[in-house]
């Protein structure tokens, strides 16, 4: 069977070149490596926020990048959880979560959003603003926002690094639970924390200076 996500990209960076190749099915793949090993750049290339110099990216039946084509980020249907969540500071949690759902689809998406709010336990936060909630709550809101668009792939950039240890454990369990519920899509998680990589990843891709040096299956 063809993999859901098929990536093979090269990109020149100031201090080293990225040259990676990996596939992912409906599983959690962890990109593990020290800071500055090109992990975030790889996520940005997948999301379409940066352009690789060559190679290809396929998601499902769609070509996202390659053969001289690059699909704009708006059309990729990729959820992206940014490192410090990038919640919109000027609108409520509720508006943050609904942002990616087109107006005409809102009535029929209501059950999905309600389920997300249930699973993540953030019903009570919807009227609040991002500066009024804690780090762990922000992380859950950002997850809800990324999943509300029903993406075909979820990218998570150091999703837990901004949290204290206890919250981090909680959130790791939550991520695993969430992936089981949404297991129709691959999760691609970037981390520099070995324990986290081992706890979350079905497969771990070790990166150093833009190259994949080891692949580890669980």
């Amino acid at each position: 069977m063809r993999a859901v996500l098929d990536v093979q990209i090269q990109k020149e960076l100031p201090h080293f070149d990225i040259d990676v190749e990996f596939k992912a099915n409906k599983e959690i793949v962890v990109l593990f490596g020290p800071s500055g090993s090109g992990k975030t750049t790889i996520l940005n290339c997948l999301a379409g926020l940066e352009q690789p110099d060559g190679g290809h990216i396929r998601l499902g039946n769609n070509l996202l990048f390659g053969e001289g084509y690059s699909m704009p980020p708006q059309k990729r249907k990729i959820g992206y959880l940014f490192q410090d969540y990038a919640l919109f500071p000027h609108v409520s949690v509720e508006k943050n979560i609904w942002y990616g759902v087109p107006k005409k689809d809102r009535p029929k998406k209501e059950p999905i959003i309600q389920q997300l709010l249930d699973v993540l336990g953030i019903h009570h936060l919807v009227k609040k603003y991002p500066h009024q909630i804690s780090g762990g709550e922000k992380q859950r809101v950002a997850l809800a926002r990324a999943l509300a668009t029903e993406p075909s792939l979820l990218l998570l950039d150091e999703p837990l690094s901004a949290l204290d240890e206890e919250t981090r454990w909680q959130c790791q369990d939550e991520l695993l639970r969430l992936h089981q519920l949404w297991n129709s899509v691959p999760f691609l998680i970037v981390t520099h924390d070995r324990n986290e990589a081992e706890k979350l990843g079905d497969r771990i891709l070790h990166l150093d200076k833009g190259k994949s040096i080891k692949e580890q299956n669980r």
Partner: protein, 230 residues
């Protein structure tokens, strides 16, 4: 004082309002266009935008006369094709005011847009938002305090514009006599009381604009600081 004596007030407000509207839109457009782009020649373009800020108003007026005068490059064309005369008309006053206040709007909005976190805009894009939607829902509201500051400064600058306006629009009572113009010619002709009257009016207008802006931005900065604090 007869009722006709108030024309400088209404004319000044009209000229400043129209010029501020034009400058607000143009300033935001160019600032947003250039804010997150780096290209060869950007600093040259920005220098040209900001030039009226450092040039004497008479130099700006001279340039505008070359451009919009009856034999000027644009002025001739406007007169022939649209029968519109810029010199000695209130439109001339608007143009002078646009040119001198544009740098203030451009500078405020460029700084405001540069401070909008690009990751927020990127997050919106990954959720399917078009560039147009990203602008209206993310960049514009987050840059709003800076845009508003630019708006108020441009309005105040437009209200006080004298040198370039005098050269392009001249002093025609009832037609191009904005408040600064009225003050100058009242003093010239020895009507000190009339001059003092307009001085009080324009000081009051300028003072209230700046006071309001300060009050408003302090209130908002506090809110904004809270939002940014993680």
């Amino acid at each position: 004082m007869g009722s006709g004596d108030y024309t400088p007030l209404f004319l000044s407000l009209k000229v400043a309002a129209i010029s501020t509207t034009i400058v607000f839109i143009a300033g935001i457009f160019f600032a947003h266009l250039l804010a997150k782009r780096q290209f060869f020649g950007k600093s040259v373009i920005e220098s040209i935008f900001l030039l009226p800020l450092v040039l004497p108003p008479t130099v700006v007026g001279f340039g505008l006369l070359l451009l919009f005068g009856k034999n000027g490059w644009l002025g001739k064309w406007l007169l022939e094709w649209f029968d519109v005369q810029i010199v000695f008309s209130w439109i001339g006053a608007v143009i002078a005011s646009v040119v001198v206040s544009f740098p203030l709007m451009y500078q405020s909005s460029a700084a405001a847009f540069e401070h909008v976190d690009i990751r927020l805009e990127n997050a919106a894009r990954t959720m399917g938002a078009s560039n147009w939607r990203v602008f209206w829902t993310i960049a514009f509201p987050l840059a709003w305090p800076g845009l508003l500051a630019g708006l108020v400064l441009s309005f105040a600058r437009g209200l006080g514009e004298f040198g370039a306006t005098l050269m392009l629009a001249g002093y025609i009572p009832g037609k191009t006599d904005t408040i600064p113009m009225a003050i100058y010619f009242a003093v010239e002709s020895g009507h000190m009381e009339k001059a003092a009257f307009w001085v009080v009016i324009i000081v009051a207008l300028g003072f209230s604009a700046i006071t309001w802006l300060n009050w408003w931005s302090k209130r908002n900065m506090r809110r904004f600081a809270n939002e940014k604090g993680r």
